[in-house]
């Protein structure tokens, strides 16, 4: 498996936070590949390191956190070695990002048009007039009404769903290779969520943009993703394509997650299943499997030895001692 063929290749990424108790590793040994046009979903509960992984790729970690290991290859270059100026040329241009909060992601004192044109002019080096035309075209594409008027309006005139459409238009206006969407619909009304997701999917398919989708909503995953990465306590516990994930999940955590989805056809008197316990707080000191304390099938080995992320089937990687060929003692690590 070479890094060069993939658009984005993350290799054994480790990100840590400086705290009073010393260095706390929040993302530990995360690897994944993103091919052009593919949608990869990062799933996991709060605090599992999804957002930190995305911010590490963009190199937008705040003060007190830094990448301590691994490499992030984008189009054949390790972006972790780029200086700030070169990184700025990638951000917003080749890799763009959509945030969770559409209500506050637009500057309230600048018009929509100004904010749309700014990045187009900066990255694509277009004139003001060309940028305005491109911006109008882009706003039309995201399905906004009375586009020309909206260009001269301030964000306060738009609803949450409309603002998120503007954010998507901005993110895609420079035709990026990768779009990182960090829970793009969490703050929106349920009725608008599906529309926004659909829109993102359509536009990205059209321009061949790959999506790195961060979410904890398995419904969104089923609808959007090609491949899924399940994260638990800073590590990848399972990676596979979306159909296999829903039909043949292997890791006990993934199985637990799938069981805990509320279904509309479920029996009224049936209570919703949940995974007992919580994510361990200081998980970096755990020697064995990090899911050990909540796992229904844990053994003595699980307590003391960390399972590898091993290949269990073609394109299916799982981090569990109790699964298929890993249990039999023959395995190959997924990312060398």
């Amino acid at each position: 498996m070479t890094e060069m063929d993939d658009l984005l290749a993350v290799n054994h990424l480790q990100t840590a936070f400086d705290t009073d108790q010393g260095l706390v590793v929040s993302v530990d040994d995360v690897s994944f590949r993103l091919k052009p046009g593919e949608t990869l979903a990062l799933v996991g509960e709060s605090g599992s390191g999804k957002s930190v992984t995305a911010l590490s790729v963009m190199q937008l970690l705040g003060k007190g956190s830094r990448i301590v290991g691994g490499k992030v290859w984008f189009e054949g270059t390790n972006v972790l070695e780029l200086d700030d100026k070169l990184m700025r040329e990638i951000r917003g241009n080749k890799i763009s990002m959509i945030f969770q909060e559409p209500m506050t992601s637009l500057n309230p004192v600048l018009t929509i048009g100004y904010q749309m044109c700014e990045s187009i002019m900066l990255h694509l080096k277009q004139s003001k007039k060309e940028a305005r035309e491109a911006a109008i075209a882009m706003l039309r594409k995201v399905g906004l009404p009375r586009v020309e008027q909206i260009m001269d309006e301030y964000p306060l005139a738009l609803s949450g769903g409309m603002r998120q459409r503007v954010m998507i238009a901005m993110a895609l206006s420079c035709k990026p290779k990768v779009l990182i969407a960090d829970e793009p619909t969490t703050a929106l009304d349920v009725t608008v969520q599906a529309q926004i997701m659909q829109l993102m999917k359509e536009l990205c398919e059209e321009s061949g943009t790959a999506i790195l989708l961060i979410t904890h909503d398995l419904g969104v995953v089923a609808e959007m993703a090609d491949r899924v990465l399940v994260m638990y306590a800073g590590q990848v516990v399972e990676e596979t394509d979306v159909y296999t994930l829903f039909d043949h999940p292997e890791h006990p955590y993934t199985k637990g997650l799938l069981k805990s989805i509320p279904r509309i056809d479920a029996d009224e008197h049936e209570s919703l299943e949940s995974i007992p316990g919580v994510v361990p707080v200081r998980y970096q000191n755990i020697a064995g499997c990090r899911f050990y304390n909540r796992c229904p099938i844990a053994t003595e080995t699980c307590k003391s030895v960390l399972p590898p992320l091993a290949i269990t089937n073609e394109g299916h990687y799982t981090r569990c001692w109790e699964v298929g060929n890993i249990k039999e003692g023959v395995w190959e690590e997924a990312y060398e």
Binding site: G92, N93, M97, F99, V109, S119, L122, H123, M170, E223
Partner: protein, 306 residues
């Protein structure tokens, strides 16, 4: 059947809301501002006074009946038809001097605050955005400037660089920035956590661009309000310094040095036309500007929904 339908049955995918008709936007922001500003009757009157003063200053040569520095034949004359406000001890027309003084006071007020706003805003932006040791350094310098007895410092500097209008503006400007720097820094501290500032980092904008194009417009309102009251303060400072003889030098008239004549007891008791008008002008202009400042604060406050 796709996965979504298999796992989350019973939901139909809704249509896009492209055809939705949106009502025309609310009251425009300028209209809203005017409406709120007009609620302050005193501020509207104050604005009127400021406009009249500004016009007087600009068209002084056309309005003033005499040249403010020309000595006439009557010394210390009481108001008459020839000299509506009388003449001073050396025989210059008091009304003309009063009109010309508006030039000095307004240029000192506006000029010094422009310098102070420029320095204060830039330092505040840098300090707030970068934080860390840069912030500490700038804030300690600000503390130092604030800890100095203000009038003393101005007096010392004025006596070193010498009195005069330009020096006056520069001194007041260079000493006036700490308050603005603190104000802007405080604003930037909250603004830099805003999602839209993070979004502009993600869009690959350079730091100066983020500072001046995305953060600065959000701090304009508080700066404007602060600057307004700053103008009033600078006018008072100029008057005080000129009164003490370290400000604008005669024969150039200023309200401050006109008041200085009241230092003599005879003038104070027997020639009130020499010191009451400049005193009234100072009070009137400072009050007007402060009223306008108050109204601006209410009108520009985004939390105000009235």
């Amino acid at each position: 059947m796709n996965l979504f339908e298999r796992y989350f049955t019973g939901r139909k995918e809704p249509q896009l809301d492209t055809d939705m008709i949106w009502p025309e936007g609310d009251e425009s922001s300028i209209k809203l501002f005017t409406r709120r500003f007009k609620k302050h009757k005193l501020a509207v009157a104050g604005l009127g006074v400021i406009i009249i003063l500004t016009l007087c200053a600009i068209f002084a040569p056309l309005i003033a009946p005499y040249d403010p520095t020309t000595v006439t034949e009557s010394f210390g004359a009481a108001p008459s038809m020839d000299h509506l406000m009388g003449t001073d001890q050396v025989g210059r027309d008091q009304l003309s001097r009063l009109i010309y003084s508006a030039r000095v006071s307004l240029s000192v007020g506006v000029g010094s605050i422009l310098i102070a706003v420029a320095i204060g805003t830039i330092l505040g932006l840098i300090s707030g955005y970068f934080g860390g040791w840069i912030d500490s350094l700038i804030m300690r310098i600000t503390d130092m400037f604030m800890a100095f007895p203000y009038i003393m410092l101005i007096l010392v500097v004025a006596s070193i660089v010498g009195p005069g209008l330009m020096n006056m503006i520069i001194i007041l400007g260079v000493l006036g920035w700490p308050g603005i720097a603190r104000l802007v820094r405080g604003n930037v501290l909250t603004l830099k956590e805003a999602e839209y500032v993070k979004a502009s980092v993600v869009l690959g904008y350079s730091t100066p661009r983020i500072l001046f194009h995305h953060i600065l417009p959000n701090t304009v309102a508080p700066i404007l309000i602060y600057a307004t009251s700053g103008i009033a303060g600078a006018i008072l400072d100029e008057a005080a310094l000129s009164f003490l003889g370290l400000g604008v030098q005669p024969p150039t008239p200023s309200w401050g040095n006109m008041l200085a004549s009241a230092q003599s007891l005879t003038v104070l008791t027997s020639q009130p036309w020499l010191w009451i008008p400049p005193g009234v002008m100072i009070i009137l202009s400072v009050l007007s500007i402060n009223f306008v400042g108050d109204a601006l604060r209410d009108a520009l406050d985004p939390k105000n929904t009235k």
